[in-house]
Amino acid sequence: MAAHEILAATNAVVTLDVALPGTVWPWFVTMNMWAKSIGTGVIFMLFILMRMYPESVKNLRLPTAITAFVFINIFLLFTLADLHQPFRMWHIFFYPHFTSSITVGAIMASVFLGLLTLLVFLAWKKQDETYDKVFLWTTILAIPVTLYTAALMAQCTARELWQMPTESAQMILAATVSGAAFMILLGGSKLTYEAKQTLGVVLGLSALMAFIIYMSEYVFGPMKAEEVAFTLEYIKGDGPYTVMFWLGQWMTYILPMVLIVLSRSSKSEAILKLAAILALVGLFMVKHVWLMIPQLLPMS
């Protein structure tokens, strides 16, 4: 039943409900997810490139490790800044509660950052053999690190829109989209054209899958759950996030897919870079909309 039909049937109006908290998780959390996607995504991409084009990525070990290190630090910084009591952050490690994905995520992210620091050091010292051994474990750990936010969103019982396994798929795809996009830009003259084309394929296919999932939720989500129907009203019609939602979908998924096809047919690296930039900027909007709209729903 559509939202307006329910309201018409009850003909009920809330005439007094004391002021409620506004947005609880602001854009800081969007930044958290966006930066983490890039930080883990470039690791995934280097892993693929090292196996497909080992000669081409020789000079990418250090830049990739530094990129991941910087973006994981941004992710952690904004996570810390979002706390209302940031100086109590240490409580997570000294009073851990392991049913919480925040606890598990914080511990994994800390270990991940340690491994990234080690990778930067090893790359700087040009100890490639040791680097590659550590890198394997870093790549494996990058998977749960990128997924933990999906688990956190799934634990938010109040926000019906954030369902598992949809969110975990979207988190991994966000990492592959942003990782491929960032690596296309980072590669510069270090990467061969074929390697960049491979990254373009990863970007395009990830964008396609993520777009299909969003559209599936957009169309079919309201048919299953009342709260999802109400939540998606905020991105339909003249909803407050309609423009941002569609702008994000076009910039992150639709346009990059088209541009990647064009770049392959015209063998243009410039078009590929444009697709990468659009995907990186658009991903922030996509994540932000999905973070905000469930928070607009009245809980009382």
């Binding site: 003909n11 609880v24 209302h84 109590r88 952050m89 009073y95 851990p96 019982t157």
Partner: protein
């Protein structure tokens, strides 16, 4: 022991005495509420009526806030109360996002999460919660759900078939019950909310924390 709450909505007259008693007892800061009474107007003039629904923490058996709290600031007491340790809370607001009842808020003074604790400090001294004492019509009934002779157990037995909880589909198993509740009173999506409109003021939302 499993403490629980029951509100007979047929008795509640929306006086907000419970709200005020809670505020005073727990020193709840301005702009925040551990307990609040929602008014919903139903029907079309002249066939209209106003419903009143006190809303507070449901002290769920399967509490999402307790599960998501990274530092166990939200924890169960032996009597079933979901309590909060404000000294341990880091203010991540995970609990605010997890609670399907909107019962948790960030205290603007302490910058930590806060909510109804069924007046755990009064219970520890064998006193009733402040809202129960303040209610002039005894619409708030509080007691041990495990004790078949307690008032709340008797009330539930007497009103079987007319007992509701909020959002049962969430699987939280609330220990907060309503008698004579319905879709309009218990389902937040069944009533229209006109932005900026309220009986006494035009404030519908307030910023929390420092990010807004």
């Amino acid at each position: 022991m499993q403490l629980g709450f029951l509100v007979d909505l047929h008795l509640c007259m929306g006086c907000k005495g419970c709200e005020i008693a809670c505020k005073v007892e727990n020193e709840v800061p301005l702009s925040t509420w551990r307990l609040r009474v929602k008014y919903v107007d139903v029907g079309t003039f002249p066939e209209t009526k106003r419903t009143f629904t006190p809303l507070r923490c449901n002290h769920c058996e399967n509490a999402p806030c307790e599960r998501i709290c990274p530092v166990s600031a939200l924890h169960y007491l032996d009597n079933g109360i979901v309590n909060i340790d404000k000294e341990r809370c880091i203010g991540c607001a995970g609990c605010v996002m997890a609670c399907p009842y909107g019962a948790i808020y960030i205290d603007p003074q302490t910058q930590t999460a806060d909510k109804c604790t069924y007046c755990a400090h009064r219970i520890a001294s064998s006193m009733m919660p402040a809202c129960v004492v303040a209610c002039p019509v005894q619409a708030n009934i509080f007691g041990d759900l495990d004790d078949a002779t307690s008032n709340i157990s008797k009330y539930i037995q007497t009103n079987q078939g007319n007992i509701q909880v909020r959002k049962p589909e969430k699987g939280t198993n609330p220990h907060h019950y309503y008698v004579n509740g319905g879709n309009v009173t218990l389902n937040p999506l069944a009533s229209e909310r006109v932005d900026g409109h309220s009986l006494f003021n035009k404030i519908t939302t307030l910023p929390v924390g420092g990010h807004h």
